[in-house]
């Protein structure tokens, strides 16, 4: 029993965090900020101050620093990395796109901002994550939704909150506040089939990405309409989160503070940039939307014991504890849409788990099919980390002693058996004791 449980937990850990050498939750807050220009510390100081207030332990480095290093003796020195160095062609020191990718694969979170010039190493890293930046010198242009302070190229665009992903976990209050966002930078595109990417903010349908210096569009724009991604995030399968923002200025003090005057709408005193930037960073760096499951138990309903295997048609109880990482500590999870599946290739049972203060429970009857089954919880919701747990149990057929002994419908057969036995006995009795008389009679 205990062994099974240990195994179940082991399997769960194995299944849910198969390469995580880094923190799963956001409790560790070592942050590296790479800048291509140390002046950004000043121009984006509001943003960094917000991070500092949230307890992040920030290290600033220029991206071409020759002592740059994120992994030392196989241990990662940071949990999160912000790359505000769009024009970096090659990182300095021991860092390159590959190592950054490995960092993500190990569970590290990264935020990347682009601008009109995107260096090779950034492109390479983005492409590893399924994101493509538009070509150099191109910018998102929107001739219908631009800020009036624009310099005439219509590259300072106003992104409407209606194009924002409606997930409070990721965007925080930004959607509710309904403030427009200022954006100046390049557009991104991704494969719409990619299930791991979330389009957080897209441009309006009238936008496109091209080189604004060219008077006429010589070739088809890199991205067009709503497929122009302004902010996109990746939640990798190991729940590492990577954010891509097309505009470095998006995080700048200017944009945080400035009022927005769209060419065609009403002016708002404040842009939504700050809300969104901070909420997004919180989400990216695992301060929100992180789930974990623990204490998986399954047992017979009748005597609350966990047998080595179940038998068909057993009534069983399955329960599991779900926690959510909220404000720096683990709290019981309150979602009621978690489902449990009892799977043997196909799910034989699919039932909702009732939630009692984070303690999820399901009661069901094992199907009348033997085999090797798995209790599968596959909780995949936008904004939450993907939670997958599979616990293997085997379901055996009835033992030879467990079948019904006396079946009502078989009574005719029982009767016929015993009547036959009696008849045979009587007949042999008759034959044995009456045979002598017959020949005599005949002889007579």
């Amino acid at each position: 029993m205990a062994r099974l449980f240990i195994f179940a937990v082991g399997l769960l850990l194995f299944a849910s965090a198969w390469s995580s050498s880094l923190n799963v939750d956001g409790s560790s807050k070592r942050l590296l900020v790479l800048l291509d220009n140390l002046g950004l510390r000043e121009s984006h100081s509001f943003y960094f101050k917000q991070l500092k207030d949230r307890g992040f332990d920030i290290t600033f480095k220029t991206s071409d620093d020759s002592s740059l290093q994120i992994v030392k003796y196989g241990e990662y020195l940071y949990d999160h990395v912000i790359v505000f160095a769009p024009s970096t062609k090659e990182f300095g020191g021991r860092l390159d796109a590959d190592i950054l990718t490995q960092f993500v694969d190990a569970g590290g979170n990264v935020l990347v901002a682009g601008s009109n010039t995107v260096g090779d190493v950034i492109r390479e890293f983005a492409s590893e994550c399924g994101i493509e930046f538009a070509d150099d010198k191109s910018a998102v242009v929107d001739h219908l939704n631009y800020d009036l302070s624009d310099d005439g190229q219509h590259t300072l665009i106003v992104a409407s909150p209606s194009n924002l992903l409606s997930s409070e976990l990721i965007v925080g209050q930004a959607k509710k506040n309904n403030l427009p966002f200022l954006f100046r930078g390049t557009g991104m595109s991704s494969d719409p089939e990619n299930p791991l990417l979330l389009d957080v903010l897209t441009a309006s349908s009238t936008s496109y990405t091209a080189n604004p210096d060219e008077k006429t569009l010589s070739e088809y724009p890199a991205t067009v309409g709503k497929r122009t991604l302004l902010i996109s995030v990746l939640q990798a399968r190991n729940n590492a989160r990577v954010g891509f923002v097309g505009s470095l200025d998006f995080f700048s003090n200017d944009f945080f503070l400035s009022a927005v005057q769209p060419n065609n709408g009403k002016k708002s005193d404040k842009s939504g940039n700050q809300d969104l930037a901070v909420a997004l960073t919180d989400w990216l760096f695992k301060q929100r939307g992180v789930l974990r499951s623990r204490n998986i138990h399954h047992y017979l309903k009748s005597d609350k014991s966990t047998p080595r295997f179940y038998t068909v048609k057993n009534d069983i109880v399955f329960n599991v504890q779900f926690d959510e990482f909220v404000h720096g500590k683990w709290m019981p999870f309150n979602g009621t849409d978690v489902q449990l599946e009892f799977v043997r290739i196909d799910p034989f049972v699919r039932t909702a788990l009732t939630n009692k203060g984070g303690q999820l429970e399901a009661r069901f009857r094992v199907p009348d099919t033997y085999g090797i089954f798995k209790f599968v919880i596959d909780y995949n919701r936008v904004g939450y980390s993907h939670l997958y747990s599979a616990t293997q149990v085997s379901v055996h057929p009835l033992l030879h002693t467990e079948y019904e002994r006396f079946i009502t419908s078989a009574y005719p057969y029982y009767i016929s058996t015993f009547s036959m036995m009696a008849g045979a006995f009587l007949l042999s009795f008759l034959v044995l004791y009456h045979r002598d008389d017959l020949p005599k009679k005949k002889a007579e």
Partner: protein
């Protein structure tokens, strides 16, 4: 009368039974028996030494047959080691070990989680437990008398042990059928005949090993019971049949052959009360007993395979009843036609009832396996999984000679002798010969059931010939033929060389009235004796002896060279004649056992399922117990799809490792590429939309793995797993890299990468290759081809960088000059 064709003694018996029909006929027969045996007793007591000598000789011959049968099967143990062979034996061994550890009832309820993931397999209900129980009993017995032997040794040596017993059973059978001398010959033949030793060498721990013994013993008891008509013997037959049912699915052969025998006897008008008693008792007891085996269950009353036995049983009852009426009704002879008609009608009714029940669904129709026996192409078209098994292929003519050598030539002669001097029991052996020859021709595996029959008939032929030719003295001193007399007392079975001389003298006048029924043989024989001189007889005897010697040599050679390879250990010979052991299979399985997680699931073609479970102790998806065709088809589909499609199936089935057998490196021909078309066919049977066999052929309809091969083949999972990194390997100086030595071609698709699997282990000679199925990619890369190329380049540059200069300055485009005191403006492009 019906018994006219038979010899003297039996015809008397027949007559008495057919005509008298009194209730005392049993005692009549038995008293007769007693009489004859007492006369024998008299003979023996008067001539103790010759009889004792014959018994001694028989005993010595049988002991020698037993020992040689046992010894000739030990080649593999001596050459290799005491291991379990091939595929099925591994499962049998595993379940036997399980049974000895956990007891019989746990074995009966054993749910095997290592097999057929995720379906599992109820072992107790899907096997014939006779084999395991037999070895378990032996194990228990040996341990009881304090011989602490490991169960593996018992399993390894069980088949040779039982082949010795088979020799004894064959001796008894032949003795019952013909004479003791023929019996000795038959015992010697069956002990070493390659057709039988192919399935019973040491280590070949399979059902057939004990089933042939059970088969022959059941037949012996059946013959005995037909001859005596005693309840005792037919009950024994039923018990022996029960053992056979518990041991092998081939019991169907018995339960069809015996009814056919009964039926033919009725048709030949050889019906007797003995037959009635023995068949009725055998059928009812056998039916009840056979239903006790969980795997058989209700099949004997529910499937068409068993309906012949039931139908004949019903017919026999009707016949017995009508026969009884015939004797009771006065002047019945006048309305003979009526009785005949009645019997015909009953026969038709029984037949119609079976047909109707089949259509109504109460009786399962013939299974596919059975159809394939009638139509050899049936399996190929409808059930590729049966056709894919090599031992289900039709037999080639050469293998008849290969497996039976001299015996196959003597076999028809023996059959002819039996037909010429027909008795009830010889009808049986003739029928056995006819059916077994047909089945052996259809399926190479059924050569096994033919072998005992061939041995018996060849022994009869040889014995009859030698009776005549080896007996120089009698031919010198008398003209009367000796042989027919001896054949005649086949039932008596007390004929041996010394006794016979005596018997001949005493019964010399007897043959002449006895021969009256067979006028054909007599003049011939007399002519022969007049012509053949003793010298020629000697020459003939020497020739026969030499042929027998050649037979023995052939048998030894075949057993040692063809049938003694364990097939999990391969041996090859170097140029200097030294042996080179290729042990890749065990290497791989051991690797699996030691290096993979305990619950890892291994996907392989079903051939290797039992071995992976037995030696590797890992969960397999499909195994040699091919009970679920669609599951196998799913594996076949995974193997024959491209990597992406295969990955979907593999994730669906939770596959952790994939194991393939690849012989291209050393030229091992039994590898997965050669079996591949079967995988395609089986997959096509279940998924005709996704897999088409035609796609795997070249335009000329050839199956080629070289450059001309079809692109679908060159990109399917099986190809990739077999040939991954093979293109880099030069097996020989004369051949190009990637030269497949099994198919003698340079492979068509070299230097490819694997996307969803990674190589985990490859054995020394590349025979077994194990791949680990990767988890889903953590990220999905962008699909733009241009960027991919760029990425490639930069990867090379970074590797150079890491190797060369670790602490280097990065490069920032448009790096702005920093001037102190000014705020950095936003860059303009």
């Amino acid at each position: 009368m019906a018994a006219r064709v038979t010899t003297n003694q039996s015809s008397i018996n027949d007559d008495s039974e057919l005509t008298t029909n009194d209730p005392e006929h049993q005692t009549n027969v038995s008293s007769k028996k007693r009489l004859s045996s007492s006369s024998n007793m008299l003979a023996t007591s008067s001539l103790i030494s010759p009889t004792g000598l014959t018994s001694l000789i028989s005993f010595i011959v049988l002991t020698c047959a037993y020992i040689s049968g046992f010894m000739s099967r030990l080649f593999s143990v001596i050459r290799f080691e005491s291991i379990i062979h091939e595929f099925d034996p591994w499962f049998n061994y595993r379940s036997t070990a399980y049974m000895t550890e956990n007891g019989f009832y746990n074995f009966l309820n054993w749910f095997d989680e290592l097999a057929w993931y995720p379906l599992g397999r109820i072992v107790g209900g899907t096997i014939y437990p006779g084999l395991m129980v037999t070895s378990g009993v032996i194990h228990w017995f040996l341990h009881m008398i304090n011989i602490p032997i490991h169960i593996r040794e018992i399993c390894v040596f069980l088949a040779p042990f039982f082949s010795g017993l088979t020799a004894l059973a064959t001796y008894l059978f032949t003795k019952e059928l013909w004479s003791r001398r023929a019996g000795l010959f038959a015992a010697a033949f069956i002990a070493i005949a390659p057709g039988y030793s192919s399935r019973s060498v040491a280590g070949s721990y399979d059902n057939e090993g004990i089933a042939i013994f059970a088969l022959m013993f059941t037949y012996f008891l059946w013959i005995r019971s037909v001859k005596t008509g005693s309840v005792f013997w037919s009950s024994c037959t039923a018990l022996s049949y029960f053992y056979m049912v518990s041991a092998w699915g081939g019991y169907v052969f018995i339960i069809n052959l015996i009814p056919v025998h009964v039926f033919v006897l009725i048709v030949l008008r050889r019906y007797s009360l003995r037959l009635y008693v023995s068949y009725s008792i055998f059928y009812i007891l056998g039916l009840i007993l056979s239903m006790q085996i969980p795997f058989v269950g209700f099949q004997p009353v529910r499937t068409s395979e068993h309906m012949l036995a039931a139908g004949v049983f019903a017919l026999l009852q009707a016949y017995a009843f009508i026969d009884y009426l015939y004797t009771k009704i006065p002047r019945a002879a006048d309305i003979k036609q009526l009785f005949f008609g009645l019997i015909m009608i009953v026969g038709l009714i029984v037949f119609a009832a079976v047909v109707v029940l089949t259509y109504a669904g109460y009786i399962a129709p013939w299974s596919g396996r059975f159809y394939s026996l009638w139509d050899t192409n049936y399996a190929k078209i409808h059930i590729p999984i049966i056709a894919s098994v090599s031992e289900h292929q039709p037999t080639t003519w050469t293998s008849f000679f290969f497996d039976l050598h001299l015996l196959i030539c003597l076999f028809p002669v023996g059959a002819w002798f039996c037909i010429k001097e027909l008795t009830d029991e010889r009808v049986f052996i003739v029928l056995y010969a006819v059916f077994a020859s047909y089945f052996a021709g259809v399926m190479i595996r059924l050569m096994l059931t033919l072998t005992p029959c061939v041995c018996v008939l060849a022994a009869i032929a040889l014995s009859k010939t030698l009776d005549y030719y080896a007996d120089t003295e009698t031919s010198d001193m008398s003209t009367s033929p000796v042989v027919p007399t001896n054949d005649g007392d086949g039932e008596d079975t007390e004929s041996d060389k010394n006794n016979r001389n005596l018997y001949d003298k005493a019964g010399k006048p007897k043959p002449i009235p006895g021969r009256r029924g067979t006028p054909g043989t007599n003049p011939e024989a007399e002519e022969d004796t007049s012509i053949v001189s003793s010298n020629i007889k000697t020459v003939v005897v020497i020739c026969i002896a030499m042929m027998l010697m050649l037979f023995a040599v052939h048998c030894t050679w075949v057993t040692s060279n063809a049938y003694s390879s364990p097939s999990i250990v391969l041996a090859s010979y170097n140029n200097d004649g030294s042996r080179y052991i290729i042990d890749d299979f065990r290497e791989a399985y051991y690797w699996l056992r030691k290096n993979t997680p305990e619950r890892a699931r291994v996907m392989s073609w079903w051939d290797y399922g039992y071995q992976i479970a037995g030696m590797g102790n890992r969960t397999v998806l499909v195994d040699n117990n091919t009970w679920n065709n669609s599951h196998i088809a799913l594996v076949g589909k995974a193997m024959s799809s491209n990597e992406t499609e295969a990955y979907k199936i593999m994730t669906m089935l939770d596959v952790d490792y994939v194991l393939v057998i690849f012989g291209g490196m050393i030229g091992y021909s039994g590898d997965d590429i050669n079996k591949f078309l079967w995988m395609v066919r089986i997959a096509e049977g279940e998924h005709p939309k996704d897999i088409r066999e035609q796609d795997y052929f070249t335009e000329n309809g050839e199956f080629r793995v070289d450059r001309t091969g079809s692109p679908i083949l060159l990109n399917c999972l099986m190809y990739k797993l077999c040939y991954y990194r093979f293109g880099e390997l030069q097996t020989d100086f004369r051949s190009p890299p990637g030269f497949d030595r099994t198919r003698h071609v340079e492979i068509g698709n070299k230097n490819f990468d694997l996307q969803h699997v990674e190589e985990a282990y490859t054995t020394e000679h590349w025979i077994v290759r194990i791949y680990k199925v990767k988890k889903l990619a953590n990220r999905l890369q962008a699909k733009n081809a241009l960027r991919q190329v760029q990425r490639r380049k930069s990867i090379y540059s970074t590797t150079k960088k890491v190797a060369g200069q670790a602490r280097k300055q990065g490069v920032i485009l448009n790096k702005p000059q920093i001037k102190k005191g000014t705020k950095v403006s936003k860059r303009k492009t």
